[in-house]
Amino acid sequence: MANAAQLKISPELADKIRAHGAQTYPHECCGALLGRDTEVADRRVYREIHALHPLVNRRDDSPSNRFSLTSQDVLDAEKAARQQGLEVVGWYHSHPDHPARPSQFDRDHAWPWYSYIIVSVANRIPEEMTSWRLADDRTEFECEEIGLQRVAS
């Protein structure tokens, strides 16, 4: 993927993701990232997260190591985004007692273009937060730098 975007998110929203992960521990939390992509003068693209849309993990059979969202959840998130003049640019979820690194399972089920934020939560304490994008050929995730800063509305 050329010019992998840097992701910008405010400290407050990053903390909300962490808090969601702590709240649902030992189960995985999940939600949508609402924002927009902005191309700047040197043709780099920045992805700005302006809001979150927390969702319910539909994998109630195995919520400690799996999360899923239905197509209706996706449509609901897209509607919420449109209402705020944004779009769904990715998803976040937590890894209880596991590093914030995407798994093979994450990769097998990922969509390109979306940012996937993962927060590690150990013993209810949020730890590392990372962001990833699926490579065009689906062979790997590419790490996306997270910039903690306030984004313009």
Binding site: R66, F67, L69, S71, V74, H98, D137, R138
Partner: protein
């Protein structure tokens, strides 16, 4: 039969940034086949290596999920809209 295929946001970059593509097809399978023939990079994100629709790819014909119709053999008629809608999943190894 002329049908419109709605492209989900994460795949638009592989479809010339279009949010929908018109194809002529008698079934959903034909429509998706024409879509991926025209935009080859879409194929790996919609289908497995065995040619099956990926489990997290949901396809609707006029708001009806093809899983409850005839799957990819679901017939289409003029003016129908085929929507490709993601579901999202992940988790630990």
């Amino acid at each position: 039969m002329s049908v419109k295929v709605i492209i989900p946001t994460p795949l638009r970059v592989y479809a010339g940034k279009a949010d929908s593509i018109d194809v002529s097809a008698k079934t959903v399978g034909e429509a998706l086949g024409q879509l991926t023939s025209k935009f080859g990079d879409l194929r790996k994100h919609l289908f497995t290596e065995e040619g099956k629709l990926r489990s997290f790819v949901n396809v609707y014909v006029n708001d009806e999920d093809i899983r409850y119709l005839s799957k990819e053999n679901t017939p289409t008629k003029d003016g129908d809209t085929i929507s490709i809608v993601p579901s999202i999943a992940g988790g630990l190894p």
